[in-house]
């Protein structure tokens, strides 16, 4: 169970493209690389492992609750490290693997009404600039709706579309395009 949460987080980090484009992409995606990354995360989250073996017996209920809360917080925090969300060509559909991360952001906004976020919508260079401006906005709006549905309030969120004007990655390859079709969450 605990392990699966970590696996899930990692899987999301991977699929949300956090590691996409870095030189070790090939390694992380193969079996060995994947396994070693899981181990690394587990070492960081040692409290999780400690509790699972014997802690359940000796710990008081309160401690267990605190432990669960801390774990939940850690999990949500880890998720919130991801602030860029990717889209397919000419779509504004939030990918399934992005949902948990966006829920974490939405809950954070709900718990911190003083924080605001700007959603910056982008498109890849293909197609026309003005349509891409509208497409970038549609993507930012999709993320905005998702955040609101999951607890953020409208007043915390501002959207702006840059269309194809501010690519994250230069170049005209499938991989560059994939990394440029995105919404970035910018917290002030």
């Amino acid at each position: 169970m605990k392990l699966s949460i970590h696996t899930k987080v990692l899987a999301m980090l991977l699929s949300a493209g956090l590691f996409a484009g870095c030189s070790s992409t090939g390694e992380t995606m193969d079996e060995g690389g994947y396994g070693s990354d899981v181990a690394a995360v587990d070492q960081d989250g040692s409290t999780v492992y400690g509790g699972d073996d014997e802690g359940g017996v000796s710990s008081s209920a309160l401690t267990e609750e605190e432990r669960m809360a801390a774990e939940e917080r850690a999990k949500m925090e880890a998720l919130r490290d991801i602030t860029t969300f990717y889209f397919d060509f000419d779509t504004a559909e939030i990918k399934p693997e992005a949902r948990d991360v966006l829920v974490a952001h939405a809950q954070y906004l709900a718990n911190n009404p003083g924080r605001n976020v700007r959603l910056e919508g982008h498109a890849d260079e293909r197609g026309t600039k003005e349509y891409n401006l509208a497409l970038g906005e549609r993507r930012a709006n999709a993320v905005q709706r998702f955040l609101i549905v999951n607890g953020a309030s409208r007043g915390q969120i501002e959207t702006v579309s840059y269309g194809e004007e501010k690519p994250a990655v230069m170049g005209s390859s499938e991989s560059a395009w994939a990394q440029n079709r995105r919404v970035e969450l910018v917290f002030d």
Partner: protein, 437 residues
């Protein structure tokens, strides 16, 4: 139709390598002209170097400007001066037999003289086969206006032969992007159609998009992100005075002028979704022209000045639609592929030009509005921002060349081509200005 265009282009490439022309450039901001393709059916014409009397300014020779203009149109094939058997400057000196022997259809001769602070050109155009003068005129310009004079003569020659007004005296607006001190530098520039006499009108670290000419050529509307978000500005070129006309929440994009210059079409999303509006510039009053959950944008008036073309993805992907009058039911124009966007009609009402995706590439295509026939005009693959010359004969668009964005001009039927690469960085968002009398 498409197929014929492609074969023609292939043949033209060989000729193009030979005819590669690089004009000397003055200022750094200027674009270079490179003729990459010539059309097979180009008309042979001889532009004879003009005779000169009095103090004629050194530098750009008027006849060379005319020769280059005609060549860039793709419709003419000027003869190199070295191949001419004589260099006449008036009718008595023109031996039609010689020009016929050289395969020439037309000969332009002329003479420049000084009149105070002005240079006067007297020029005559002859039809070689008919041995007849078809144009004769004198025109004058200030001593630093040799390019103005040259483009004027090109316009007259072009019209005398084709029956269509020339567009060589018109202006181009475009945006260049390079980096300066590690920051992006966007510059809105205006130049002659051959890329010469470029002048920077606006510079910003944030994107500048969608320049659009007012019908009288005195103002540009455009989108600037200078405040961090898009807003639409109107820029008076003579004074440099700017007015922010649209700064609503969300999108403020894709400005396009009405024929009378009194209103602008624009895309706003202030009510949550991208819709096309018309803004009356005097009152700033808005009229919503589209109302659909889809993206509606990139509107432009049609030939009649009443209807509009626009891009909408209401069918699932972007397609071109036509609305006959404000509020009328939109009619879909494009069906050839899943991505057709940013319509630009020509001045005749016969064609609409747009960005067209075929397989994985983006080309410029046009649809014949009378019979619905679609022709893909370009072989380049990342094409954007088509803009038709005001006489409907040429088309400028942005494309990629070795990673940089460059402007390319083609004849409106896809035949000839020349490109305007920047000395460094990107050139994009070309807008062809109107013919101004």
């Amino acid at each position: 139709m498409t197929k014929r265009t492609w074969t023609t282009s292939h043949k033209a490439v060989a000729a193009a390598l030979v005819a590669l022309i690089m004009l000397a450039t003055g200022a750094r901001a200027e674009l270079l002209i490179r003729i990459t393709e010539g059309a097979d059916a180009a008309i042979p014409i001889s532009v004879v170097p003009f005779a000169e009397s009095g103090a004629i300014p050194p530098g750009d020779k008027v006849a060379n400007i005319v020769r280059d203009d005609l060549a860039m149109s793709g419709e003419f094939r000027p003869l190199a001066a070295e191949k001419m058997l004589s260099l006449p400057s008036r009718r008595e000196e023109v031996y039609f037999r010689d020009w016929r022997m050289l395969g020439q259809r037309y000969v332009l001769v002329g003479e420049l003289s000084r009149n105070g602070d002005r240079v006067v050109a007297r020029y005559e155009l002859f039809d070689v086969n008919q041995e007849k003068r078809i144009l004769g005129e004198t025109a004058a310009a200030s001593v630093n206006g040799m390019r103005t004079l040259g483009h004027h003569i090109s316009d007259k020659v072009y019209e005398a032969i084709t029956g269509v007004p020339g567009a060589f005296s018109t202006k181009l607006a475009y945006v260049t992007l390079d980096s300066f001190n590690g920051k992006p530098r966007y510059r809105l520039q205006v130049s002659d159609v051959d890329g010469k006499r470029a002048r920077i009108r606006l510079e910003s670290q944030e994107p500048i998009l969608s320049p659009a000419w007012s019908p009288d050529g005195t103002r540009l509307a455009y989108v600037s992100f200078e405040t961090g978000k898009p807003a639409i500005y109107i820029h008076e070129l003579s004074s440099g005075k700017r007015t922010k006309v649209a700064d609503f929440s969300g999108l403020n994009s894709a400005p396009a002028w009405s024929e009378d210059g009194r209103s602008l079409l624009m895309t706003l999303s202030k009510d949550g979704n991208a819709e096309v509006y018309r803004m009356d510039l005097a009152s700033r009053q808005l009229t919503k022209l589209t109302n659909h959950w889809a993206i509606d944008t990139e509107a432009t008036y049609d030939h009649s000045g009443d209807g509009i073309f626009f891009t909408s993805d209401r069918s699932g992907g972007p397609q071109i639609y036509h609305m006959k009058s404000p509020g009328a039911e939109p009619r879909r124009i494009t069906f050839g592929s899943r991505y057709n966007a940013r319509p630009r009609p020509d001045n005749t009402g016969d064609y609409v030009y747009y960005v067209h995706q075929r397989n994985s590439a983006f080309h410029i295509a046009r649809t014949n509005l009378k019979n619905g026939e679609e022709t893909v005009l370009t072989r380049t693959e990342s094409d954007e921002s088509p803009s038709v010359s005001p006489n409907g004969r040429m088309l400028i668009y942005a494309t990629k060349q070795s990673g940089n964005s460059v402007l390319t001009v083609i004849s409106a039927d896809g035949g000839a081509a020349y490109s305007l690469p920047a000395s460094e960085g990107d050139v994009r968002e070309p807008a062809w200005g109107p013919i101004v009398n």
